[in-house]
Assembly symmetry: C2
Homo-oligomer: 261 residues x 2
């Protein structure tokens, strides 16, 4: 039987609130090894952008990453956000090691081709280096990924953290039984966005389609769901979406995704 590994993506609303972040990190630190954390940092990046006189540009919830913005996200994601998380996890006895996709060549991407929208220095993942990440895990390190990749030619690229989480999970599937957990402030995918108790416990692609048709899946949730089904279709054993609490307590409701009904 393959050894288990858990890949946790933590949402910005949790990480960028000192109290919620501390509670999450305490929970994450207590999870058994091996484990991997993936985080963003969008709100902090937008705040720094504003402060530096570079107005953040977003299209369909995605950041337009011009050269100045790439510097901002590199500073915030790989610098401020990543190192704070790593230092806090170390204080909690978790041997965190922060990574961008350039470090150890762990995630290579290609610059997104200009279509109707030019996203600038945005990267679509080409290859995850499962050997490199695997050797860090085997060495007792807990990889903490920020939302940056590189193109292998010296260029850093801004890459969606949800996608990094699913692609890293898929690549680890070769050697491990992988659980992917999208962790955020809500209890899961909700039937009624206003009612945190209305968690939909199980979603398969058919039900997902129906929920989208009914307008019950928020726009921001769609890429997360697509990444989830993609991961399940490519060897990830289990994908869940839920609150930090459900990482600790399996009795806490959360949304479990599956390919079959």
């Amino acid at each position: 039987m393959k050894k288990e590994v858990i890949v946790v993506k933590i949402g910005g609303n949790v990480l960028e609130d000192p109290e919620k972040s501390q509670a999450f990190l305490e929970t994450f630190a207590q999870l058994p090894n091996p484990k991997v954390l993936v985080h963003g940092g969008g709100k902090t990046a937008s705040a720094l952008s504003e402060r530096m006189g570079i107005p953040p540009k977003m299209v369909n919830g995605r950041r337009i990453t011009d050269a100045d913005t790439l510097e901002v996200v590199t500073m915030v994601y790989a610098g401020l956000a990543n190192k704070k998380v790593v230092a806090q996890l170390q204080a909690l006895g978790c041997n965190a090691l922060g990574l961008s996709g350039a470090d150890g060549n762990s995630i290579q991407a290609v610059k997104r081709p200009k279509g109707q929208i030019d996203y600038g220095f945005a990267g679509d993942i080409k290859e995850v280096n499962c050997c490199g990440i695997g050797s860090l895990i085997a060495g007792g390190f807990v990889p903490v990924f920020c939302a940056l990749t590189h193109d292998g030619k010296g260029q850093l690229l801004n890459t969606n953290a949800d996608t990094i989480a699913s692609e890293v999970a898929i690549s680890l599937g070769e050697g491990y039984s992988v659980k992917l957990y999208y962790c955020f402030e809500k209890n899961g995918v909700l039937n009624d966005i206003e009612d945190d108790d209305s968690v939909i416990r199980d979603i398969n692609p058919k039900k997902y389609e129906k929920l989208v048709m009914q307008g019950k899946i928020a726009a921001g949730m769609i890429p997360k769901m697509d990444n989830s089904f993609h991961a399940l279709a490519h060897g990830v054993s289990e994908v869940a979406i839920g609150h930090v609490r459900s990482l600790q307590n399996p009795a806490q409701p959360y949304t479990k995704l599956s390919l079959h009904s």
Copy 2:
């Protein structure tokens, strides 16, 4: 016989000039493994500080690191500077992996006690985790350290890059024969600061004392020299100060430090 490792500290004036930086990184990438790189990023940090309306405060050439300044140096050192270097080295076929002292708990420090001057979040190194760094090296990674450490209690600390280089070199001395190389724009320690050909080829502590008395050692060079002799006294096999060129070509003059005449 112990395996050799080279620890290279690269000065800010080289790293912060795109052309010189590229030339240096090409040279570094060609050095045989295992190897370690240590860099600063002070000029970029000061520029960002100014842009954010946080005037940099320096006393005796050292930065006063208040809470805002710590955020700036974390963004610049661990984010912008470190990830650019890592991405460029990866493009050159060097399997670089960027680290702050918090990553993998590689360097613990204590916050410098308030004396006559309060340096703020400045860290004096307490312990280098040679096992952790050693396991990265053994895994084929090339550690690239920025000038940040942590206190093990969740606090990042700003730490002099020259000192990080010497302490990492000392810690690796347990398992390796270590060469420490302070690499900058000059050809070495100069007899006449205006004449780049006046390299002093060998310096021992007695000669160093004499040169200081004669006013021939620039103020900025003194901590580098002190770190160098400290490293030699604690198991580092060889310490050199010189131009990037001398890393490639041993016929190029440089300053070699030794404990004995």
